[in-house]
Symmetry: C2
Subunit: 284 residues, 2 copies
């Protein structure tokens, strides 16, 4: 590239940057643009609301994340992303109720940090799942490299060629960098059909499907689906359940969200900040 061409490119980029620099690009405007682009009606009631900060806050940058932990909001602040778009709660309950947390030092630390850094946290859960295709599921398929395994008859199901449950679990553990995956079922089970119930599995139904070899979930109560899966297998059904942990089971869906936001937001940088898997395990 000759120097005059380079000068042109640089100045064009600078001009674009200036054009994009607005002092009135608010959190409310970002949310309005999400609602306009998500492709499904905005259903109330929803947990997809602002959990901290004012809708009038001027947005300098956007961070998407699976879970707005203190670690994530600190990293977002450090890179100048003052709007955090989180899939999971900020304040330790599905409804993010803070009335019983007012005197809690961990809550106070987090709320103070958000306030001092002029941050907004917006939850994007219900409508990212409602987006077609499901924004979380799409991201997980990309992270797992399962695009070629999608069942042509059922986009929510994946076909495999008889690899074992042990091999499948190990592959997923490696691809998603999981330290504390848990599995139920015979490791030698031959796997042909797999479905994902990314996040919390509140029903036994997806696992009970007779045509399914393996269900992948984030978490479930151990006296509900976990006991059911163990019983189904003991009673002779050839099935497996892979429990990834909640964060690893939906994380890539918020990387997908960052990429999606970039298709209609160019005023500010948009970045995905992964939430850390919370657990480690003692070495045996």
């Amino acid at each position: 590239m000759d120097s005059s061409r380079r000068a042109f490119v640089v100045s064009a980029a600078a001009a674009a940057a200036i054009a994009q620099e607005r002092s009135d690009f608010t959190a409310q405007e970002v949310i309005a643009r999400i609602r306009k682009n998500v492709g499904v009606p905005w259903n109330e009631p929803t947990v997809d609301t602002i959990k901290s900060g004012s809708p009038d806050t001027v947005v300098k940058g956007i961070a998407t994340t699976m879970m707005a932990t203190v670690d994530v909001v600190q990293r977002a602040a450090a890179s100048g992303r003052n709007l955090v778009i989180t899939h999971e709660p900020t304040f330790y309950s599905h409804e993010d109720k803070t009335d019983t947390l007012k005197d809690d030092p961990t809550y106070q630390f987090k709320q103070d940090f958000l306030d001092k850094h002029n941050m907004v946290v917006f939850r994007f859960h219900d409508h990212w799942h409602a987006h077609r295709p499901d924004g979380i599921a799409t991201g997980m398929v990309q992270a797992l490299g399962w695009e070629k395994n999608v069942d042509p008859q059922n986009g929510r199901q994946f076909l495999f060629d008889g690899m074992t449950l042990g091999e499948l679990a190990k592959q997923m553990q490696d691809k998603l960098h999981i330290r504390t995956m848990r599995v139920i079922g015979d490791p030698a089970l031959r796997v042909r059909t797999v479905a994902g119930n990314w996040g919390y599995a509140n029903s036994i139904r997806p696992f009970a499907r007779p045509d399914l070899d393996v269900l992948v979930i984030g978490e479930a109560r151990e006296w509900e689906l976990i006991e059911y899966a163990a019983d189904a297998i003991t009673s002779g059904r050839k099935k497996g359940l892979i429990v990834l942990g909640h964060i690893p089971s939906e994380q890539a869906g918020m990387l997908n969200c960052a990429n999606w936001l970039k298709t209609f937001i160019s005023e500010v940088p948009v970045e995905f900040i992964p939430a850390a898997e919370p657990f480690w395990r003692p070495v045996a």
Copy 2:
């Protein structure tokens, strides 16, 4: 022992066995005796009810267990224990509701097995916790060998001499034979005070206690206590959370229950049948 003495012992044992052999020792009578001996009022509503079988069933033997899985009820039947006393649900929900399970093959398999073997399943949850001392907590202290660590000021708390969180977790993993333990916190944390929230932890409060270094739980939702614990630690609090898994976290409490039942039931054999930890993990 000379032969005449031995003959006397044998015949006395035989006589005792005959005296204890009753054809009218019913499940209802066992439950009535539990209610009489548990030492606290029987509070209604309670989940401590018969989940399968008739109260008039003649009891041949009793098996206590943490969770009446298909595996456990099969083992109980094989050893002639037709009354199973379980701490956790039989049919995959806290209330053991079966109305939506009628057409489910796993439910049908389990229910058919219980019916064919003339078995009764009784849940003993609320009142075993209400027993003083808590029957589950007592069993866990015994299994962990923590009797000497009980805080003289607070029987629900345990004192340690500064071993690390990593060492404590490893010790618990070994003593309770856990394959898929998960831990949050700095492995090098020095541990002095520990409390157990055996089973499901539905609140952040026990972990939030400022005087506590480590809380041990069975399970918790990952967007509730798990996120809270990670945030507390990131915000500078020197704490750890050990997640044993639900079954390992209460299992020994039902061994303790078998021993307790033997103090007032001599008509039939009483045996503890451990429920298997459901999970395995892929090798890294």
